[in-house]
Amino acid sequence: MAERERAPAPPDGGVFVARAQVMSADDMRRAITRIAHEIVERNAGVAGVALIGLQTGGVPLAGRLAGELERIESVPVPVPVGSLDATFYRDDIGLRPLVPEAVTDIGFGLDGLTVVLVDDVLFTGRTVRAALNALNDYGRAVAVQLAVMVDRGHRELPIRPDYVGKNLPTRRDEMVDVSPSGVSIGSVVR
């Protein structure tokens, strides 16, 4: 479930019911390849580049992206990959505190690196803003770029992605689900 910003707290949670598939698994694979090329082009290679996936949807994507980068550039050393749960940095904690879904694991300092944050869906921008705050506590990156599989609009903060798999206009009340089998748009039924 990609809708972390407005995810109902567990007791309210329901079941996602898809209305239409907007990207197939193949579409996603091609998007990842394209984004990998764009990262290499923008940063003149992968030296000094690290990927950090945002929990939870961005983590598998970051892994796949790292694999693509290594394949394209045939690097001897793997691209550093980390995972980040930004729950403690959010400014929009609602009636109940959001419980972190998974642990943060960044096994390297950020000083001197270009960090590419990876997430599955970009929506209001609050998760990314929280992630930027969190990154400050891990060191001082040279630059931070943002890669997302889907940009669904409705930004509430001045945040923009550097790399996008698909631009997908949505209604506010709709939900976007990203999984290994593809990207679907639908709603949550309680």
Binding site: L95, N133, Y138
Partner: protein, 305 residues
Amino acid sequence: MTATHLLSVADLGTDGIEEVLRVTDSFVEVSARAIPKVPALRGRTVVSLFFEDSTRTRLSFEAAARRLSADVMNFAVSSSSVNKGECLRDTVETIDAMGVDALVVRHGSSGVPWQVAGWVGASVINAGDGAHEHPTQALLDCFTIRQRRGSLEGLRIAIVGDVKHSRVARSGVLAFTALGAEVTLVAPPTLLPPSLEGWPVTVSHELDPVLVKADVAYMLRMQSERMTGSLLPSRREYTAGFGLTRRRAALLPDGALVMHPGPLNRGVEIAAEVAGMPGSVITSQVANGVAVRMAVLYLLLGGAG
């Protein structure tokens, strides 16, 4: 956790305990960072109100609050500066009126955190009341056991020593059994509560047979004050019967843990060399204490103000 207070482990239930332990994982990671701080409780005020001397627990709560970016105030009231008869309620209501978010209360009398919770609007966390409960100690103990053994389900935990006067034991029994462990209390009859009716435990007056099958040996502090009041003939007799000596530690199965809530009375309830053995997780308990307290503060206060 939907409650506003943490007064007893029983308030949490199995689900609540699991939630705290899960969130603690995140805070262990935070504490391991170069900058072990998150802004989650920025703008909140946590006051520690300790009527009993306890530097370690007070500092542990303070560290936890600071790592969450909360503001901290300390009222370390020793028993000499608060006369018996000085109004506890006045002190507490004055602090509450300053607009604080949480009161961490430790007192030598059972029940005080419940009384305080009835007088204030802030969240109350029981940091130890008389001989009654010490919920965060039980939680960090559960977390520590889980770190080493994965799960408490079916584990045999022996709690050894002065159970009668121990809030750590009472909270421990509640928490360990809620997570599926089997608890045995080991003590001479004078150091057990007068009635164990309703306690989900077995009892033994002999330590050796219990150690042979134990997954955890949890040693309680043997306070020297207990030597009066005819509870025990002498410290030597206690150690001979119930101390975790080197000989006894060798009886423990491989992988068994040795735990202690601190501070240790080396040579009384636990031999100095045993405290340093590989199976001893006493220092981990202390380290985990901060992370567990961060989890508790976060779950109680992390909602909208």
